[in-house]
């Protein structure tokens, strides 16, 4: 069986910002956003339509990693603040979790419930829960 300390190990290897994993073994803790509403699929390797405006506030960013001892999940949390470089309005439909600031491996993808419509100045607090079960 996988014991409690094994779950802690697994969570930290997968996404801890303090991890010293590099390259393809770098921890997955970068959150990226898209307006593309297509449902996440097993064969996805990239986040289609990823928001990537130069100096935009909705571009891919590293999240805070949070883990509770003995838990079966961990979370990645980041607050995005839209600015004028992102455009006049954006509706966030889906997110991806990557292991690099650019390119990298997309490890998870999730649809955003009740997709929020944003304009410059709006903030979006994203907390992605990753299950270890």
């Amino acid at each position: 069986m996988r014991v409690a300390t094994g779950r802690t190990f697994q969570a930290k290897v997968m996404s801890d910002t303090a991890s010293n994993g590099t390259g393809i073994y770098a921890p997955a803790n970068y959150l990226a956003l898209t307006e593309t509403a297509t449902a996440p699929a097993d064969a996805d390797t990239a986040l289609t339509g990823e928001l990537a405006a130069a100096s935009g506030g909705l571009i891919r960013a590293q999240a805070a990693f949070t883990y509770t001892s003995g838990a079966n999940t961990y979370t990645l949390t980041k607050t995005f603040t839209m600015n004028a470089n992102d455009g006049a309005s954006r509706t966030i439909q889906k997110l991806g979790v990557f292991n690099a600031a650019t390119a990298g491996i997309m490890v998870f993808s999730s649809a955003v419930p009740n997709p929020p419509a944003m304009v410059p100045g709006d903030q979006l607090a994203v907390t992605e829960t990753v299950s270890l079960v």
């Binding site: 802690t8 801890d16 910002t17 303090a18 010293n20 803790n29 590293q62 999240a63 805070a64 990693f65 949070t66 883990y67 509770t68 001892s69 003995g70 838990a71 079966n72 999940t73 979370t75 949390t77 980041k78 607050t79 419930p113 009740n114 607090a125 907390t127 829960t129």
Partner: protein
């Protein structure tokens, strides 16, 4: 790598999010004295760290149903801010279980 901010919070009412479709709920973990650790990326300042933990949809809300029993941080100002916000002491009790 520059020094990263870290915060630890004593968690006596741990829960975790479970999502089915567009519906999210929280499931309580067995009652225990647990530690929740928040590890921030390089470059995150105290203000952003504080908001990340304490916001309504922030990290703490996703990990506990009650305020923390105590807080610690690699940043003394962040620890004091969190303690003031949650009305709890700074410092892990000596008998608190290790992670």
């Amino acid at each position: 790598m520059s020094k990263q901010l870290q915060a630890q919070l004593g968690n006596v009412a741990a829960h975790e999010a479970v999502r089915k479709g567009n519906t999210q709920s929280f499931v309580a973990l067995p009652k225990a004295e647990r530690t929740t650790t928040v590890q921030f990326p390089d470059g995150v300042g105290i203000a952003e760290a504080f908001t990340t933990i304490t916001a309504a949809g922030g990290a703490w809300a996703y990990h506990s149903a009650k305020p923390p029993a105590w807080v610690e941080s690699s940043s003394k100002p962040l620890a004091e801010l969190l303690a003031s916000h949650f009305h709890c002491p700074v410092g892990r009790p000596t008998k608190w279980p290790q992670d």
